[in-house]
């Protein structure tokens, strides 16, 4: 699993590639939490996610709640259909803010943040 984070003026964009499973989740979680706290707005570019399990979903949920609790915002962008599928059939998809592309996510973030 690889995580690459870039910051612009309003938000951090994190690109994740590889499998998000129980094996990598603690590391994944702490890095993203840090990025979120640093910027308030976080776009997660999901296009490179391979396998996705319960542990991966729980990290996203935690981020989502952390963001919501601190007046920040998490937007998932370019979610691969297989990942989206897992989130849909488990009833979690509608809890998240999502956008088809990173560009749209950044734009949406600018609108969503104070």
């Amino acid at each position: 699993m690889n995580l690459n984070i870039t910051h612009n003026s309003r938000a951090a964009v994190a690109s994740v590639t590889g499998d998000i499973t129980h094996a990598v989740s603690p590391e994944f979680q702490s890095t993203l939490l840090e990025a979120l706290k640093g910027s308030g707005g976080l776009v997660l570019d999901c296009s490179g996610i391979g396998m996705f399990t319960s542990a991966g979903l729980r990290v996203l949920l935690l981020l989502h709640r952390e963001a919501a609790g601190s007046g920040g915002c998490l937007i998932l962008a370019e979610v691969p259909s297989a990942v989206r599928d897992v989130m849909e059939v488990t009833g979690f998809w509608e809890q998240f803010l999502t956008r088809p592309t990173v560009g749209e996510a950044i734009a949406a973030l600018s609108g969503a943040l104070p």
């Binding site: 129980h22 989740s25 996705f52 399990t53 319960s54 488990t90 009833g91």
Partner: protein, 703 residues
């Protein structure tokens, strides 16, 4: 944010920080900083908690729990620093291995926690298991973070239910289902519009507690395929949903997917009942594997003979000792868990007569388990349905210890409707009793028709299409020499065994199917339809299809087109039941109590009004009641003879006329109408009821 910590480690075992647990709840649960484990055994001498790394499946720790972590017969511990997403667990218990005294401990064996909320090992249905795995079914922890989004049970009155008995996998596994995830909870969700269109408002799922489809699996020389445990009446984990039914089972998300399914069904106004199997476990008799209960506390969990042998009232090797106070509590915990955590609306208890037996197998007058379930505050609004018999010969239909709460699968309804349907002589009287909600079984006790779950077919036995296509069972595919399955089918093949090209036979079968469905919908009580009966699903005459994960056990969705006539009839018959309050009243109709339009609650008729012939093949009734929407009166007649009958219809008061709502003797679309939507009959005129046909008329106001 600073958090107050009252839960801190007090010691270390094998490098893991721990403290004694709080005993309750049993099972594994998340606590601040770690995981709480708690397990019961009365006879064990030691207990070791075994932790596995989820990713590698390797054992990462074995924590022998000190005596100071034992309160009474319960060991409990908090293990700190354990990431709930990264481990699986089990237990190893030591104790006497003395079968004659009822003890079968094996300290080498890693065992599944009976309270495990998720079980790995059979994550994807049909994936070949690793037979060398010494601990194939592993417990793991599941977050309780599902957002129910305000979900509430539909809370449908029992008498208004129309139950659809279905197999989660079989419902959408067929390639024709067209769903994204065939054979799963998610697949079922995609077909909710079909269920709504059909008009059922309750699904009863065949077992969904974790089981092993490979239990006793073997190559079947007759079919060339594997015989599997397709139905799943053999529980591995009572607190864990079947992972192999989840599209996300391999991601460990079966719990979430299951909850999302329940939420979606509720949003569609459909209740969810579970078929639960508390009468035995998957461990079989002394030849079976030690998976959980046998190695944890054999003597507590199973009914044993004086020599320590397994008493077998289930026909499956063992009998769960469910009136032992500890086991009783586990069953109660389990039911409460499914109701509170999964929002389940009720349960159908498989072979429930066993639940009324004492630890030595004797039937009890006042079984504490059933009394506890009936009175439980968490289960207070659940539907409770008993299969009121067991494989040990205890038959409690009508007398199941019910505490005013349990309904019963009415096996007599099934038998008597089948007899009448196939044209047995002299059955008009018993059919009338079934139409009235079986007062012979449920009136004197005051239980009423709500105690009667009416059905003509269920997973056990013929499908409806097979009931009218076969005189005998054809179970050769089961590879048991056609000896398995019941012989008492009360079926009639309409003139030819099996598939037929004869147009008349096919028409008759269709009509007979409609007769059965209409009688089911007209009868007082709670109707239950078997998945696929509405579209003529066939099992090729197999009346015990528990072992086939194959096409004939799956719903073929092309039948929706090919059997559109029967489907339309079923849908409209359900709608007629819902349109007529008089068909759904919670009491037995009486002949000596005023109903409506000058008729008593029920009156019986024959060729002439008020002249029933109980020894005939003709039953006719007017069922009438005053309802908030005005008088509701219907005339139902069923002629199971081979000759048409000319009926003089009972007179209605001025201003009312009989309107045809269903007549199975007519071809579609004149076989059924929406409520009050069919032809109006002239007063007094005779009504010609065709051979093997049934009719439903309603009293409508002349306009």
């Amino acid at each position: 944010m600073s958090a107050r910590i009252d839960l801190y480690p007090t010691g270390e075992i094998c490098g893991w920080k721990v403290r004694p647990g709080r005993v309750f709840p049993f099972g594994a649960s998340l606590v601040p900083g770690g995981v709480h484990f708690s397990i019961f055994s009365a006879a064990a001498t030691s207990c070791t908690l075994v932790l596995f790394d989820k990713a590698t499946r390797r054992e990462m720790a074995a924590l022998p729990l000190p005596e100071s972590f034992r309160i009474g017969d319960v060991w409990s511990v908090v293990v700190f620093g354990l990431d709930p997403e990264t481990f699986e667990y089990g237990y190893r218990l030591d104790g006497p291995d003395e079968a004659s005294a009822g003890h079968r401990f094996d300290r080498e064996k890693t065992l599944l926690d009976p309270y495990a909320r998720a079980v790995s090992g059979r994550d994807v249905w049909g994936n070949p298991p690793d037979w060398s795995d010494p601990y194939p079914y592993r417990g793991f922890l599941v977050p309780e973070d599902f957002d129910w989004a305000g979900d509430q049970p539909p809370a449908i009155a029992s008498e208004d239910l129309v139950i659809y008995e279905m197999h989660v996998r079989g419902f959408t596994r067929h390639p024709s289902s067209g769903v994204r995830h065939p054979g799963t909870y998610a697949g079922l969700v995609e077909k909710i519009p079909y269920l709504r269109g059909l008009g059922v408002n309750c699904v009863e799922l065949l077992p969904v507690f974790e089981f092993d489809e490979f239990e006793l699996s073997r190559q079947n020389p007759v079919t060339g395929a594997m015989n599997m445990n397709y139905w799943g009446y053999s529980t591995v984990g009572f607190f864990a949903p079947k992972a192999g039914y989840a599209a996300t089972g391999s991601a460990g998300m079966q719990v979430d997917e299951f909850k999302a399914m329940v939420r979606a069904l509720h949003a569609a106004g459909i209740e969810v009942l579970l078929d639960v199997v508390f009468n035995h476990t998957c461990e079989g008799d002394h030849r079976g594997p030690s998976i959980s209960f046998r190695g944890l506390d054999n003597k507590t969990y199973y009914m044993l003979g004086p020599d320590g042998s397994y008493l077998n009232f289930s026909g499956c090797g063992n009998s769960l000792n469910c009136n032992n106070p500890v086991v009783r509590q586990m069953v109660l915990d389990c039911l409460r868990f499914w109701v509170s955590e999964f929002h389940i609306d009720g349960f159908r208890f498989d072979a429930a007569a066993i639940l009324g037996r004492d630890p030595w197998g004797g039937p009890m007058l006042n079984p504490p388990l059933l009394e506890s379930v009936a009175a439980d505050p968490v289960l207070k609004k659940c539907k409770l349905i008993a299969e009121a018999w067991d494989a040990g010969g205890l038959y409690l239909l009508g007398s199941f210890p019910n505490y005013g709460r349990f309904s019963e699968w009415n096996g007599k309804f099934r038998d008597d409707v089948r007899d009448f349907l196939r044209g047995e002589p002299g059955r008009a009287g018993v059919l009338a009793t079934r139409l009235a909600g079986s007062p012979d079984l449920y009136e004197s006790s005051g239980r009423g028709p709500r105690a009667s779950v009416n059905f003509v077919t269920c997973h056990d036995g013929f499908t409806l299409r097979d009931l009218v296509s076969y005189n005998g069972k054809h179970n050769d595919a089961n590879d048991e020499g056609n000896r398995d399955g019941i012989d008492d089918n009360r079926s009639w093949n309409c003139g030819e065994e099996g598939d037929s090209d004869d147009g008349e036979i096919r028409q008759l079968r269709l009509r007979q199917s409609k007769n059965a469905l209409l009688a089911l919908m007209v009868s007082r009580g709670i109707p239950m339809i078997l998945m696929g009966d509405e579209v003529g699903r066939t099992q090729g005459g197999n009346n015990n299809a528990y072992c086939h994960d194959a096409g004939f056990n799956w719903l073929d969705w092309s039948l929706v087109e090919r059997e559109s006539d029967l489907l339309r009839f079923t849908r409209m018959a359900i709608a007629l039941r819902q349109a007529h309050p008089v068909l759904r009243l919670p009491g037995h109709p009486r002949g000596d109590a005023a109903g409506a339009l000058g008729f008593p609650e029920v009156s019986w008729h024959g060729r002439q009004p008020f002249e029933p012939d109980w020894n005939s093949r003709l039953v006719a009734a007017v069922i009438a009641a005053e309802t908030p929407a005005g008088p509701d009166a219907v005339f139902f007649a069923w002629n199971s003879g081979s000759q048409a009958e000319n009926l003089a219809l009972p007179d209605l008061p001025g201003g009312f006329a009989w309107t045809v709502e269903a007549n199975t003797g007519c071809p579609s679309p004149d076989d059924i109408y929406s409520a009050a939507g069919g032809p109006i009959l002239p007063p007094g005129g005779p009504f010609l009821l065709g051979p093997r046909s049934s009719v439903l008329l309603s009293a409508t106001k002349n306009s």
